[in-house]
Structures are given as structure tokens and as C-alpha cells.
């Protein structure tokens, strides 16, 4: 397929179709409503089904049900809606069925605002619902990467029978960029899921539940989940390194759109003779600690740039084994300019 110019949200919808997903259950919320709108229009062309739920609580339980039949399914929402979905996500994780969800983050807390934010980093990586579980979190920084990661998210969800979230700030959802889609996956060619609810014809009934009243059985489930998370940590860490070298004065950290602003600042500073690197985690969970650690060893100073009050700093400190991490961020939907970023880096470089 040739390159096409597309809005991020629409590219996300198209990528889901190309991954073999034919079912979307969701509820409108700014700034992600173009995803359900795109699918409502596009799905009939590929025999897909769009169902508008009565709430995000219901949507998360609809995708739970849909996933139980072994079907590829996804939903999208934005911050307040994701909070409502946390009920279903916890049950989905506990029942070990695969779903993909997209969070186009807006500024909070509460009703907050509708402008871009990265304020759901903690929620996505640490607090996606009650109980002892993790979800895989993928963070694209361009429309192209959003499309690629959404397609990959479906494979990862199936591989781990676990929820996978693609998280983007409002800029990823709203901006238009050229995108080239990967080959269309035929849903008919996907591997069978023997655990799915398909009717107990000629076999014992399949039961999908997250209820284990026997503490030993529940602990077994917790241990099974832990094993999956350890495997994710071994096999799924993704990151990008930009201009990282022994000669850099400052190493910046940023994820999603913020990383692109950092790159512009880094390019400008290079021309001025100041060497600055960027470490961008693509998987927010599992966070690429080892790779980040290696990059950190090469830098004199560390700084995190985020569209929040600084939620990734915890992970950078873990990677840096407690080293100081400077921070610059804007909130409320305000996005720092490359100039702002440059000034912060220079202040640190002159220390």
C-alpha cells in the first residue's frame, strides 16, 4: 500500500482493521472520537462491526465478552474513560484473554481539559485497575509508529493473552502525517484459540473466569501472570536511542510526541557544538531499564521532559540506580517549544 496522509486517530482505526480486528466497542470522548467515527464508517466495507456502548464501563465489559470468543477486539478512549474501563481491564487480565486498547491521553485530573497530556503514565504502567496485574504499554511518537504498534499490539495481546495498551497524547491522535500500512491480516488465518467460548460441542465446557475462591488456586493464577510479566520483560522491551555517545553532556528522556520536540532541540544544539542524547522508551511497561542504564552511564547530566509533572522520573531513577534526574514539563495541555527544551538543556550543560 502506498503512503497516505492520515490523522493519527484514523490511522489507528485502519491499523486495527489491518491487524484482523473486526469488532470495536466504545464510547465517544474527546480527543479520540475519530477512532470510533472512522470505524463506524469503514467497518461495513470489511464485514466489521462497530457497537457504541452506553458507557466506558460497559465498553470494557463488551470487549471482555468479545475476547472470550477468541475474536480480535479493541476499544479506544481518553483518560477519564480509561479510568472507567479499569474495571473491565482488571477482569480481562485476571481471566487472561487478549484485548487491545488505545488511550489518547488528555490533561487531568478529573474532567481536566481536552488538550494533549502524558499524565496517565502512572495509571498505564502501575495502576490500570485493582489487583496484582500488569498490561503491556506501547507509546508511539508518530502516526506511522502508532499504526505499526497498533498492529503489533494485537499479536502481543494474543501471545500473552493479556491486555495491551497503545498510549498516545492528543497530538498523536489529532495530527496528520504520511503513513504506510503493513499488509492486511486475514482474520481467518489467525491461530485457533482452544480456550475460547465457542459452544461445548464434542468437548468439555470452557469456563472463563477471574474468580478463584481457593487461595492456592488464586496464588497459582498470580504466579502464572507473574511468569508472563517476566517473559514480557525479557522479550518485549523496545526503545529508541538518538545521538547517544560518550561525548554527550546531557542525556534527555522523553516518550511519545515530547521526544520529537527533544530531537529538534538536540539537532539545534549539535550545530552549536553541544552534544545531547535522547533515550525514548517505546514500551513504557516493560520499561527498558538495562538499555537506559547503559545510556545513563555515558552522560554527565540527566533530564526528563514530559507533558506531566514528571511521572517517568521514577523509572529513570531505577535505571540510573538512584542518580539525580532533572525535570522539565508543562501541564494543562501546554506543549513545550524546542526553545524551552533547549534552554533547559543548556542550563544543565553549564552546571
Amino acid at each position: 500500500m502506498a503512503r497516505v496522509l492520515m490523522k493519527g486517530n484514523e490511522a489507528i482505526g485502519e491499523a486495527a482493521i489491518r491487524a484482523g480486528c473486526r469488532f470495536f466497542f466504545g464510547y465517544p470522548i474527546t480527543p479520540q472520537s475519530e477512532i470510533p467515527e472512522y470505524l463506524a464508517k469503514r467497518f461495513p466495507e470489511v464485514d466489521g462491526h462497530f457497537i457504541q456502548a452506553e458507557s466506558e464501563v460497559a465498553a470494557s465489559n463488551m470487549i471482555y465478552g468479545a475476547a472470550c470468543t477468541g475474536t480480535r477486539v479493541f476499544t479506544s478512549s481518553s483518560s477519564p474513560g480509561i479510568s472507567l474501563m479499569s474495571e473491565g481491564i482488571s477482569y480481562i487480565a485476571g481471566s487472561e484473554v487478549p484485548v487491545v486498547l488505545v488511550n489518547i491521553v488528555r490533561a487531568g485530573p478529573g474532567l481536566g481539559g481536552i488538550l494533549p497530556s502524558q499524565g496517565d503514565y502512572w495509571q498505564a504502567t502501575r495502576g490500570m485497575g485493582h489487583g496484582d496485574f500488569r498490561i503491556l504499554v506501547l507509546a508511539p511518537s508518530s502516526v506511522q509508529e502508532a499504526a505499526d504498534l497498533v498492529m503489533e499490539a494485537f499479536d502481543l495481546a494474543d501471545k500473552y493473552t493479556n491486555p495491551v495498551m497503545v498510549i498516545g497524547d492528543g497530538i498523536i491522535g489529532q495530527m496528520m502525517e504520511p503513513v504506510e500500512f503493513r499488509k492486511m491480516v486475514d482474520p481467518e488465518t489467525l491461530p485457533e484459540k482452544p480456550w475460547a467460548l465457542t459452544g461445548a460441542r464434542g468437548r468439555e465446557p470452557n469456563i472463563i473466569t477471574s474468580l478463584y475462591l481457593d487461595p492456592l488456586e488464586l496464588e497459582d493464577m498470580n504466579q502464572r501472570l507473574l511468569k508472563k510479566y517476566r517473559q514480557m520483560e525479557k522479550e518485549e522491551k523496545r526503545w529508541e536511542e538518538y545521538n547517544i555517545s560518550e561525548s554527550m553532556k546531557v542525556l534527555t528522556f522523553a516518550w511519545g510526541t515530547m521526544s520529537r520536540i527533544c530531537k529538534t532541540a538536540i539537532d539545534d544544539l549539535k550545530k552549536e557544538g553541544v552534544e545531547v542524547g535522547l533515550f525514548r522508551p517505546i514500551t513504557l511497561y516493560p520499561f527498558p531499564y538495562e538499555a537506559a542504564s547503559e545510556a545513563i552511564e555515558k552522560a554527565d547530566e540527566l533530564i526528563s521532559f514530559e507533558l506531566s509533572t514528571g511521572q517517568m522520573i521514577d523509572d529513570i531513577r531505577l535505571a540510573g540506580k538512584g542518580r539525580d534526574v532533572a525535570f522539565y514539563g508543562r501541564q494543562g495541555g501546554i506543549v513545550p517549544t524546542p526553545e524551552e527544551v533547549k534552554n533547559q538543556i543548556l542550563k544543565l550543560a553549564e552546571k
Binding site: 469488532f23 466497542f25 462491526h49 457497537i51 456502548a53 452506553e54 458507557s55 464501563v57 460497559a58 465498553a59 465489559n61 463488551m62 470487549i63 471482555y64 465478552g65 468479545a66 475476547a67 472470550c68 470468543t69 475474536t71 477486539v73 474495571e87 473491565g88 477482569y91 481471566s95 467460548l197 465457542t198 459452544g199 461445548a200 460441542r201 464434542g202 465446557p205 470452557n206 469456563i207 472463563i208 473466569t209 477471574s210 474468580l211
Partner: protein, 263 residues
Amino acid sequence: MVQTIFSRPESLRLVPTHYCPGCTHGITHRLVAEILDELDIREKTVGIAPVGCSVLAYNYFNCDFAEASHGRAPAMATGIKRTRPDLIVFTYQGDGDLASIGTAEIIHAANRGEKITVVFVNNAIYGMTGGQMAPTTMPGQVATTCPFGRDVNLAGYPIRIAQVLSELVTPAYIVRVNVNTPAGIPKAKQALRKAFTYQMEDRCFSLVEFVSTCPTNWGMSPIKACEWASENMIPYYKLGEFKTPDDPLPEGAAANGGDENAD
């Protein structure tokens, strides 16, 4: 010559019951299982268990099953039926689950016309959590969170789900039956047969509300509980069909592209 005249339906497993003595869940489970057998749909049926006394329904029914979060069984059923319309999908829900925490999900599943069957057990109390007031608790009825009896000035009158849902235009079949009297049981089975048959015929949403008992949390013997339900619940929770697929569309419903002949 030995002739079998009564046996366990294939759709029920041979397991000891965890329900309290005199609880009517056993009757309702058996009726559902008999219908699955008689309609020969066990092997293509998916049930959804609620949160409440029947949370372990999948231990009894011999068909594929999922366990929903509290009140969300109709949303889960929506996900299952929409992705696999060839399956027969039913939810089994109590009154705390369906009539309190799950009101949004049941109303919208019914209003979208999800092609599912809902088995709704109304015993006017929260059973599993230990006898708290339900939205269906009768005025004056004592429960652990209304120790002086349900005060309608504080808690309003009990919600009558069959009536509420039958106000919606979309659902195909809404009926209330009872399992606290021998005479009620065959009628209840008849209603269940209709509800599942309508789903097999691809007609939309059906709900069968069962007036049921909870001897343990009502603090009564099983027989007294059956009598109490007849005396106190049935006059308020009237039995009968509230909506059938043959009901005409209300005036104005067809004005914007609606089909006069739709179910």
C-alpha cells in the same frame, strides 16, 4: 421392565449444591437446563454468571460459561453474541446484580435489542453478601441495612424490572414468573422455552423475571418463605407477559426509518 421417568438434564452437572436449603436457585437452574436439553442447544450455548449467590453458576451448567463483573453480564453477553451470532447466549443474574449495580447495562442491552436471553432472579434481597437491602426489597421488609424495615421515604419503592424494561420499544419478550409455588414452575418453564426459542429465531432481547425466595436471609423456613413471597411479593410483582414479539410498535416509532414489521 424399568422405565426412566425422571433424570438429571444433560445440561446440569452432577455436583453437590452450595445453595442454602430451600433456595429456589436450584429450581431455576434445573428449568434452564431442561430447556437447553429440550431445545438441543447445550453445545452451542454460552452462559454468563453474575456476582451474587449464583456467581458459581458455571459449576452447575454443563455448557461454556464466562464470569462477569458485578452487573455487567449484559455487556459481556453483548460482546459474545455480537462476535458469535450463531451461539445462544444467556445471562443469569440476581436482583442486586441486575436491578442495582447493573441497571445501565441491562437497560441498554435491552434497548439495543441484543439477541440474548436474561434469566433474572428476584428474591428481594442481597443473598451472598449476607442479607442487605436490595432495590427490590419490599416496603417494610427487614434486611441488615434496613433493620427497621425498608422505609420508602428513604429508599423509595422497589423497582419492578419487568415493567421498566417493557416500556422500551426494542425488546421482544419480557415476562415475570414465579418459582415459589408448584403451579408457578411449569409456567416459568414455558416462559423460558419461549425466551430461548425467540433467540433461536433471531428475535431480539428477552428477559424472564423469576419471583424467588431467600429463606436464609429472610429468616424463614423454606415453606414460610414460599408463602411470604405469595402474600407479599406477587401482589406487587405481578405475574405475566409484559411484552411479546407480536406487540405493535407504538405510534411514531416507525417515522424515522423504523420497520413496522420488525420484532
